[in-house]
């Protein structure tokens, strides 16, 4: 496993100097507290030996407040299936399709998350897996049935039949994503003495989906977001793997022929080598 971490001190030093210079020069935005952060890499390459990787996030914050880091994978549709027992065997009986589902989601904070982000803020800003704006796909009629509403305990008694129906599927979506390590509580954000500089490690598992991620850094004070910054992060297959995957999808017929040719040649070759045994 490759680790980020070497050289972050140097980067941090550069950042501090830059931040100080920036603030000194009066470049500070008018409304918000300033938070500046950066990642140890902008591109995570999935290569032959890929077994997960760490990306270091470091930054500095001006003023008081706790830091919350949200890492969100590309969104898409996902089907959730429920098994039922039919004639003694378990088979998929009910399927619900959800859209706007992040393929990966992690949250970390500089203090216990429920203390830093109260429920009202989580709901409003969509922070935390249970507050994601995941919606039931292809729903006809008015209104969108979202998981964040279906899972909101405060709405109990006021929910619609649809929300009650999708709630177990929403729970299952989050539970299954957690089990496969794709929805997680990230490593804690750590402040350096002085509470200006902070760092955290974003850990991506071996099965991390490819795509463009967003890394959102929030400064939260008194239950309000007082500053934020977003960074894109690209996760891509590179090298032979990427080429094989691309080729298999773009030139499927040619890929199929090559696969057959390789196998036929290998079989013929093996026959030749072991002919006289």
């Amino acid at each position: 496993m490759r680790r980020a971490g070497t050289g972050w001190r140097a980067a941090m030093l550069g950042l501090t100097v830059g931040l100080a210079a920036g603030l000194g020069a009066g470049l500070r935005p008018a409304a918000a507290e300033t938070v500046i952060a950066d990642l140890s890499k902008r591109l995570v390459a999935i290569t032959t030996g890929f077994a997960g990787t760490d990306v270091l996030l470091f930054g500095a914050v001006e003023g008081k407040g706790e830091v919350v880091v949200v890492v969100k994978g590309p969104v898409g549709r996902l089907a959730v299936r429920r098994k039922a027992r039919v004639a003694g065997i378990w088979i998929n009986r009910k399927t619900m399709e959800f859209s706007n589902v992040p393929s990966f989601y992690s949250v970390s904070a500089s203090a216990p998350l429920d203390k830093v982000v109260p429920k009202a803020l989580a709901r409003r800003a969509g922070i935390g897996a249970r507050f994601l704006n995941v919606v039931l796909a292809r729903r006809r009629g008015r209104g969108r049935a979202s998981c964040s509403r279906a899972l909101d305990a405060d709405l109990a008694g006021k929910t619609t039949a649809t929300l009650r129906r999708i709630a177990p599927f929403c729970e299952a979506l989050i539970r299954n994503k957690r089990r496969s390590g794709l929805y997680l509580q990230g490593a804690r954000v750590r402040f350096l003495p002085g509470r200006k500089l902070f760092r955290t490690t974003i850990r991506f598992p071996a099965n991390v989906p490819v795509g463009t991620y967003s890394v959102l850094v929030y400064v939260v004070r008194g239950g309000q977001i007082v500053g934020s910054q977003t960074h894109p992060l690209r996760i891509d297959k590179t090298g032979v793997e990427a080429e094989v995957f691309d080729f298999a999808h773009r030139h499927a017929a040619f890929y199929g022929l090559i696969a057959v040719a390789i196998a036929a040649f290998a079989g013929w070759g093996a026959g030749q080598i072991f002919r006289r045994n």
Binding site: W90, V260, A270, G271, F274
Partner: protein, 307 residues
């Protein structure tokens, strides 16, 4: 040492795959069977998505059946005319199978159908083999020979053809139907289908045993090649990296296995194989019946998901 499989989209230990290929290759060399019916479930057990296991296994079988077919060809053990008829049926069956596969995947029942097909065929074949080997071990060498030629309704079918090497004059519909059934299984189960075709050729078509194995390998080579192509173009489920690693272990394992096989008695071998087939069947059946840890599972949307 981990390797990332580009189509299966997972990291697997290289030595695990080489070992799996070697072990299944050893068994297929030992028992003279294709090994697809063992490899596909094993791949699923280690976490390869079932569709990728099936597509990739078809590709691997191309390799093992090519070398087998060439060996039998040299010994005049291939009835090409019979093989061609079986193959025509096989191509039709495999085309239907791949489209059925795609449909079942969309409605979310492919894993179930793969498991059920395995439980049914492994259970039946395993039991029959076990009974047969026990019976022949008990009977020793005595016993009556069966009649060489039966006349049944099968011989009344139209489109009669003469198959010289098999010394048969029968309806072409019969081998066509056998080939077709095997083609469907090749696409859905990721097997060559020899375990089903060989008994059908002997008992149903009535071919002489000397050409049965070579002719079935001829059919399997081309049907699995065609299936690989269809799976690659329709379902994108053929992983060449995975196939190559399995192949490498498989080739070596098969050579060691066939040497070890010559030192064991026939009915003992078949008894052992039967027990193994039943063990795999039992595990698959258990997974179907046992209450899953989580009744819910996630799947790619059929409306097009990530990427």
């Amino acid at each position: 040492m981990q390797i990332y499989l580009p189509i299966a989209e997972m990291s697997v230990d290289v030595f695990l795959l080489l070992g799996l290929g070697g072990a299944v290759g050893f068994l297929s060399g030992l028992f003279g069977v294709g090994g697809g019916f063992l490899m596909t479930p094993l791949l699923i057990f280690i976490g390869v998505p079932p569709p990728v296991a099936v597509g990739t296994e078809a590709n691997q079988i191309v390799a093992s059946s090519v070398s087998g077919m060439i060996a039998h060809w040299r010994r005049q053990g291939v009835d090409f005319k019979m093989g061609a008829v079986l193959l025509c049926g096989g191509l039709v069956g495999s085309t239907a199978g791949v489209f059925l596969f795609n449909y079942l995947r969309q409605v979310g029942q492919i894993d179930l159908v793969i498991s059920l097909a395995y439980v049914f065929f492994l259970g039946t074949v395993g039991l029959l083999m076990l009974l047969e080997s026990v019976r022949s071990a008990v009977r020793r060498k005595g016993g009556k020979r069966r009649k060489l030629h039966h006349h049944t309704w099968v011989h009344g079918l139209p489109f009669k053809m003469r198959f010289r090497r098999s010394k048969l004059y029968i309806s072409a519909l019969l081998p066509f139907a056998v080939g077709m059934a095997v083609g469907v299984l090749a696409a859905i189960m990721g097997v060559g289908g020899g375990f089903l075709m060989v008994p059908a050729m002997i008992y149903l078509i009535g071919m002489p045993t000397s050409v049965v194995i070579g002719t079935s390998l001829f059919q399997i080579t081309f049907v699995t090649a065609y299936t690989t192509f269809l799976q690659a173009t329709n379902n994108h489920t053929v992983d060449v990296f995975l196939a190559l690693l399995l192949l490498l272990g498989g080739v070596i394992g098969a050579q060691i296995g066939s040497r070890a096989g010559s030192r064991l008695r026939g009915e003992e071998l078949r008894g052992l194989l039967a027990l193994m087939v039943l063990a795999v069947c039992g595990k698959l059946l258990f997974d179907l019946i046992a209450t899953p840890d989580d009744l819910f599972s996630l799947a790619a949307s059929r409306l097009g998901g990530h990427r």
